[in-house]
Symmetry: C2
Subunit: 199 residues, 2 copies
DNA sequence: CCTACCGATCGGTAGG
DNA sequence: CCTACCGATCGGTAGG
């Protein structure tokens, strides 16, 4: 007789995401994880190599999602304002789709070993750089106000990456409302009040 | 002969702030803390009751600072826009003044026991409510655009409370620049483009 | 996937 | 502030 659960490994990953999010990586024991899965602690190691590999899988899986979504947008024919709005929307969609995993991605990545850590930081820097590039081309085209792109993009990510802290999936706030609020708080703030045409 | 260090307890607190920030509360051992202080692990307990009390002291000391700064502002005669700007500036000043402690305040509070945790959450909710009140009175007076105050204030805190993640005290960015960037990204975004007078 | 177990490390105490 | 130490818990392995 086969197991009722189609994929035990997938179940372990999902439960790890939830525990790492709610308790934190360091405060989550493999024994606690085993209990939520319903097997003995030692049995976990038939499916996963180590606790840290669980963390790495979460972080790099989410990094992949972010990167691929942005790649698709960058291939579209859009002006900087449209492109930035699309990038923001895509980023938020991924957060809402994977609330546990993205929270771990944002807060627990630092517990990876240094090799993974360096790879992770590079991916994240590249991703942020692409957002900065959109902002900078918009400033050049005078669609956006002059601002320090580094600070401005950090503030944008701060808003988007805080969603998991206050968003209630069972509340009445929809994805569309969140995207709108962030576009309003951020984009309207950096948009010129009277858009100019090629100076 | 007295100790060279004026206050060993203060030194322990400061070192705990730094370790809790950089390694995380759960990943910081009392042995590691003792080593940075230069005493044996057991000797820590002559100065502090427990590891958790160290965390509580950090969290409630910072909560006090935030609350008192805001109280002073609320007693001034200011319109909602000036009041919100002053509250933002005061909040940022405290973050920059206590980078280690505020980072612990933002990320490690969840490891307090449930009695402290409840007290802490209440203080934080009261503080956020006061920001919401300012925003709401500004919306009533039509100084600010209509927005969902709850989401909007969460986004504001997200920006302010992310500073520790990207601010480099040795860089050329000054407190004034950070305050300006956040006011620009946030306040300009919610300000009416053409301010109305009592409809 | 289980039983049985290992060495390491943890927060904290006793007693001086 | 130190030496000596405790019980608990940790991530992980051996062997089936």
């Amino acid at each position: 007789m086969k197991s009722i659960l189609p994929d035990r490994k997938e179940q372990i990953n999902k439960n790890a995401q939830n525990l790492f999010r709610t308790k934190g990586y360091k405060a989550t024991s493999m024994r606690a994880l085993a209990k939520t899965v319903g097997i003995e602690p030692a049995s976990l190691y038939s499916h996963v190599a180590s606790k840290e590999v669980l963390l790495q899988n979460i972080c790099f899986q989410i990094a992949d999602e972010f990167i691929h979504a942005l790649k698709n947008i960058s291939e579209e024919k859009l002006n900087p304002k449209e492109k930035l709005a699309a990038a923001i929307q895509a980023h938020i969609r991924i957060i809402l789709k994977h609330l546990d995993a993205t929270t771990v991605f944002f807060h627990e990545w630092k517990y990876m070993n240094s090799a993974s850590l360096n790879r992770f930081k590079n991916l994240r820097n590249d991703y942020e750089q692409k957002f900065r590039n959109i902002l900078e081309s918009g400033i050049e085209e005078q669609i956006f106000q002059k601002t320090d792109p580094h600070t401005s993009i950090k503030l944008l990510f701060a808003m988007m990456n805080s969603i998991h802290e206050w968003y209630n999936p069972k509340g009445k706030l929809k994805q569309k409302d969140i995207v709108e609020s962030i576009l309003k708080s951020y984009l309207n703030g950096i948009l010129e009040k009277q858009p100019k045409q090629n100076q």
